[in-house]
Symmetry: C2
Subunit: 263 residues, 2 copies
């Protein structure tokens, strides 16, 4: 169904955040704050819930808010002129949404599951950033990690075949699910619900949904994953899947040949 264009779903924003009962309190950006500064942040924070498959903000829109994710999974999406979607990343609990340099969003963000956010109006939050280095440092470190991750991802998109790519994406989601999940799991084992459809996996990987489906099937046939349903994935041996995905497979020294950089 097509809805009003240009309108972002605006559920009522609830009252100021109650930081003392917040699940993200100890790892999200507010973990850097104490006393007066925390009050300043929580005073401007508003809770917001976004239902699955609704936009949080849209590419090109003016950025009104920064947000910290409390729960759920957010996909970062760029839409091409011909209507294709490209997913540039997934964001989870304790991650941060917003651009400190651009006043306009550079991609869309949409809820992949139901999402809870803690939102901060742009101007006062920017002032807090300028006033209080620790929170800026948190954001800086977060951005550095995002950049690392994005650079690693260019390897997946540029160098791997479809089978390896699907394995890489499942690895990424599995790792994050282990990290975010509440119930402790055996080491080298993962079980999670895919926050994306086959079509979205394809949009993430630069492939077609048919090929994704075939490669998921191949992983299943080879025993690298099990499927309780089309969305419920079990990875019985993470290391084995990592090997297929060519993760931790990169040479960190030597291994170069004539014609390559010397020195």
């Amino acid at each position: 169904m097509r809805t009003m264009a240009g309108q972002t779903n605006e559920r009522a924003f609830s009252p100021p955040a109650k930081c003392d009962i917040c699940t993200a309190r100890f790892r999200a950006l507010c973990s850097t704050l104490t006393g007066e500064q925390l009050e300043r942040l929580s005073g401007m924070g508003r809770r917001r819930t976004v239902p699955p498959n609704h936009y949080i903000f849209r590419d090109g829109d003016e950025a009104q808010y920064f947000a910290s994710i409390l729960s759920g999974v957010v996909k970062l999406v760029k839409t091409t002129a011909d209507g294709e979607q490209h997913i540039m990343g997934l964001m989870y609990s304790q991650d941060f949404l917003g651009h400190t340099l651009s006043k306009h969003h550079r991609f869309s963000a949409a809820a992949a599951t139901e999402v809870e956010l803690c939102t901060f109006p742009r101007a006062p939050f920017s002032r807090l950033l300028a006033d209080y280095p620790p929170i800026e440092r948190w954001l800086f470190d977060f951005t550095v990690r995002e950049l690392d991750h994005c650079r690693d991802w260019t390897l997946t998109l540029g160098r791997k075949c479809s089978y390896e790519r699907v394995a890489s994406l499942l690895m990424m989601i599995a790792r994050r699910a282990r990290y975010t999940g509440s119930t402790p799991l055996p080491p080298n084992y993962a079980q999670f619900e895919l926050p994306l459809t086959r079509s979205e996996l394809a949009d993430y990987l630069g492939m077609t949904l048919e090929t994704v489906s075939r490669m998921v099937g191949k992983l299943k046939r080879k025993g690298l994953i099990e499927l309780r349903s089309t969305r419920e994935v079990i990875v019985p041996d993470i290391e084995a899947l990592a090997a297929v995905a060519n993760i931790d497979y990169w040479v960190t020294e030597n291994g170069r040949q004539a014609g390559e950089p010397q020195g």
Copy 2:
């Protein structure tokens, strides 16, 4: 020729940087500094020159130095177990090399042309970062821009065909050459020397050098570029090349269909 493995070419480091005559003084990270802090930075800075095709540092090595690039082009390279190279980015004058979180390099950096660096020992530079927010802010902003760029690049690798990819990379280099170059050029026109071989272009684009060569030939046949030599490129109409590269072609709002996020 193969040389001693694990050794990075260590030309003699020259005396402390003379900031007042430095070409990068007004846009590099030192542009944020004045008086005492600038003295502190210049006191720890050492010039270093790296000849073309030599490593600056290697993936996995312990990071001894941060560096600001004064001149030349640096390629960021990851080498795979099977000896393939993947180029993750190019760095130019006024860009910054180094990782504020990891003590070990996460990729190699190699000189594509002759490169001049201003290097800073890790520990005192980190202390300066912590002591003096403006320089941390500069690095933060630099990192945000790198992340933007890297995310855009995932679109090129994930969604574009070989012809568009080559055009995209040439666009990127052309834009940067215009920005860095000294001589003023007519608008919508670029002329530059490619800092990379066909093989390196292929490593950047996740293609083979043969396909790169074919696509460069196709761009030439269509009049989108001219070649004075294999390395000297002229772009007579940047906008036309941008159109081929699908740059500024992305929809920034609307354009979505049933089944996509609503709201």
